[in-house]
């Protein structure tokens, strides 16, 4: 009887210890990632922010007023929006058409092509390719133009977008389209009535992903845009220094907070509507 109780006790103790260890580990990880976010929140509303995370001594909205006074700040957010929306439109449209064709047509060496594209795409927007890309855009006369930035960003994002969407469209049964064809639907009608609505969660995922990528991209717009009026938010943050040459923490914190809100909102919206699940239209 006692033996049984003893072994039960040992098991309980070891479970408790394992639980404690687990929560400490999780807590440590959470704190590590939460600290910068907490700093962002507290420093934004602090009159005299430092690098420490603390409850604001003098609560103030002064940082946000300063953003309003900065000649470039609000404009840069608008620039970012323009770049993100334009790139998203191109990426989603082109990726949808390409992924649909690649999914449905018999192309020899299709998978090899897709993997090669995916591999190369990380090079295209990567640092290594910046000189040739700069020269290319220069020759095209698109330096200091949003069109150049949008084209380069779209080119970099398209392979991954096509890859993801093709996988998604592969899961849509062909019988949907064949059924519509037998009823006399034209290819464009099939695309409009069947494929796009069924693939909508996938398209939304790609759209949100593209916006987030463009929103956060620094190097491409930094190199291709000259005019400070055209700079997107990610590039502008770099210029927030005081006259003395030290980082303007008030401005950086408040601006970063504003800058991150749209992305968070988009994730929440897409997540609540589509749940980011990649699945086809049929019950499994």
């Amino acid at each position: 009887m006692t033996a049984v109780n003893d072994s039960d006790g040992v098991r309980l103790a070891s479970t408790v210890v394992r639980r404690i260890f687990f929560y400490v580990l999780i807590g440590g990880g959470t704190a590590f990632f939460a600290l910068p976010l907490l700093w962002l929140l507290s420093a934004s509303f602090d009159d005299t922010p430092t690098y420490a995370v603390r409850v604001p001594r003098h609560f103030s909205l002064g940082s946000f007023a300063e953003i309003g006074r900065n000649p470039y700040a609000l404009r840069s957010l608008l620039n970012s929006t323009v770049l993100a929306v334009a790139t998203m439109a191109i990426v989603v449209t082109a990726a949808a058409l390409a992924a649909y064709a690649l999914s449905r047509a018999r192309v020899p060496g299709r998978d090899a092509l897709l993997y090669a594209l995916l591999l190369l795409s990380s090079v295209v927007t990567g640092t290594a390719a910046m000189v040739p890309i700069f020269l290319l855009i220069f020759q095209l006369g698109l330096i200091d133009s949003n069109v150049g930035v949008v084209l380069v960003l779209s080119g970099g994002l398209l392979p991954a977008a096509i890859f993801l969407l093709k996988d998604f469209i592969d899961t849509i049964p062909r019988s949907y389209e064949e059924s519509a064809r037998v009823f006399g639907a034209s290819p464009l009608q099939i695309l409009r009535h069947i494929v796009v609505p069924v693939a909508r969660p996938g398209l939304a995922t790609i759209g949100v992903w593209t916006v987030v990528q463009v929103w956060g991209s620094f190097l491409t717009p930094f190199i291709l845009l000259r005019d400070p009026d055209k700079q997107p938010a990610a590039v502008l943050v770099r210029t927030f220094y005081t006259e003395g040459g030290s980082p303007n923490l008030k401005l950086i914190a408040a601006f970063s907070l504003l800058y991150s809100i749209p992305v968070v909102l988009m994730y929440l919206l897409a997540w609540s509507r589509y749940g980011f699940r990649f699945h086809g239209g049929i019950k499994s």
Binding site: S179, R181, V182, F183, G184, A185, H193, V198, R200
Partner: protein, 356 residues
């Protein structure tokens, strides 16, 4: 309403796979026609070629008075029900049924009215606002049927529409399907791998193997007189006994036992090798020695519900016989088998063709 005529129809897929091999077939107006065969025999390819989803490598397809070989699926005036039903998941039942009419640019009111009346006729009235994911398998199957009915085609093409239903529901759906077809009188081509389904539903059956039709006939003909050993093997819920034998002196020599000879034997030479086919239902089992019976011992007894399938070892051969329920012999007990001589089918061993 239209007849279907296929002439010299051949379909080759890349890699020299011949799914259809110079196939000729006429399906009468208003007929309920089954394409039956094991998977990979080309039956689905044949159906898809009639629909226009596959282009034949050679040959022609005629529906009614028109040659449709080069027409798109939508121009052929056919409606197809797919194995997975292919209901559009983002549309309600009503929109699904009305979709063919939407393609034809019928005014919204007219198509809603038609979809509602067809849906009601097929017992879907309470479900019109639901999405396909909210329906059971049987309901989805009915919506797919309703969608086909709503477009009032001259030909129905069904690709295994019952195979995704569970066994009990399949029997109900089978009866429903047959009644619907009788009522509408639309020419129907039906693909299935289930021989019982084909026998139960079809006016005529084409049994296919390797892109060719091995036998074409009414269910009675295909079941009663299979034209070759392939069909004999494929048709019937209990597998037919196919036993090697030799013609000797006007009788059959079956592993050393003489079988009473059907009259057809006179057309065969002595010593010719044949395959004797007899369904287990036509073999009677005796508990005592009988003149001309095959002696053996019971190996396995399988319960089929109202009857049992008894497998008997006769020398090296295994022969099946069915016995009524409550009359099963013990495993290992000696028995004597008497095949019904009128039901014996003789196939040439060389090519498996029926001789008599």
């Amino acid at each position: 309403m239209a007849a279907i005529t296929l002439t010299g129809l051949t379909k080759e897929f890349p890699g020299a796979v011949r799914a259809l091999d110079a196939l000729d077939l006429s399906i009468a107006d208003g007929e309920f026609f089954a394409l039956l065969g094991p998977s990979g025999c080309g039956k689905t390819t044949l159906l898809r070629t009639i629909a226009g989803l596959e282009t034949p490598t050679a040959g022609t397809v005629r529906i009614g008075e028109r040659e449709v070989t080069a027409l798109t699926p939508g121009a052929r005036d056919v409606a197809m029900v797919f194995q997975d039903y292919a209901l559009f998941p983002h549309m309600t039942v009503l929109d699904n049924i009305a979709y063919p009419l939407r393609i034809r640019h019928e005014p919204r009111q007219a198509r809603t009215a038609r979809a509602e009346s067809v849906g009601e006729h097929l017992g879907l009235r309470a479900l019109m606002g639901r999405r396909p994911a909210e329906l059971s398998g049987g309901q989805q199957q009915r919506v797919a049927l309703a969608r086909a009915v709503a477009c009032r085609p001259s030909v129905f093409l069904f690709d295994e529409p019952l195979s995704n239903l569970d066994a009990r529901l399949r029997l109900e759906a089978r009866t429903f399907l047959k009644r619907l077809q009788r009522e509408l009188g639309v020419t129907t081509v039906f693909v299935t791998h289930d021989q019982a389904e084909a026998l139960a539903l079809a006016d005529r059956i084409a049994v296919m193997e390797a892109g060719q039709i091995r036998q074409l006939g009414t269910p009675r003909e295909v079941f009663g007189r299979p034209a070759n050993t392939f069909v004999a093997n494929f048709i019937g819920s209990t597998p037919m006994n196919l036993l090697p034998a030799v013609v000797s002196g006007g009788a059959l020599d079956l592993g050393g036992h003489a079988l009473p000879a059907p009259t057809v034997l006179s057309t065969l030479d002595g010593g010719e090798k044949v395959t004797v086919g007899v369904r287990p239902e036509y073999v009677s089992l005796r508990r005592s020695a009988t003149e001309g019976a095959l002696p053996g011992s019971v190996s396995i007894v399988e319960n089929l519900g109202t009857s049992s399938l008894v497998t008997v070892e006769v020398g090296d051969l295994l022969i099946g016989a069915t016995v009524p329920e409550e009359d099963e012999p013990e495993a290992g007990s000696p028995v004597w088998l008497v095949p019904n001589p009128d039901r014996l089918l003789i196939y040439r061993a060389a090519d498996g063709a029926l001789v008599g």
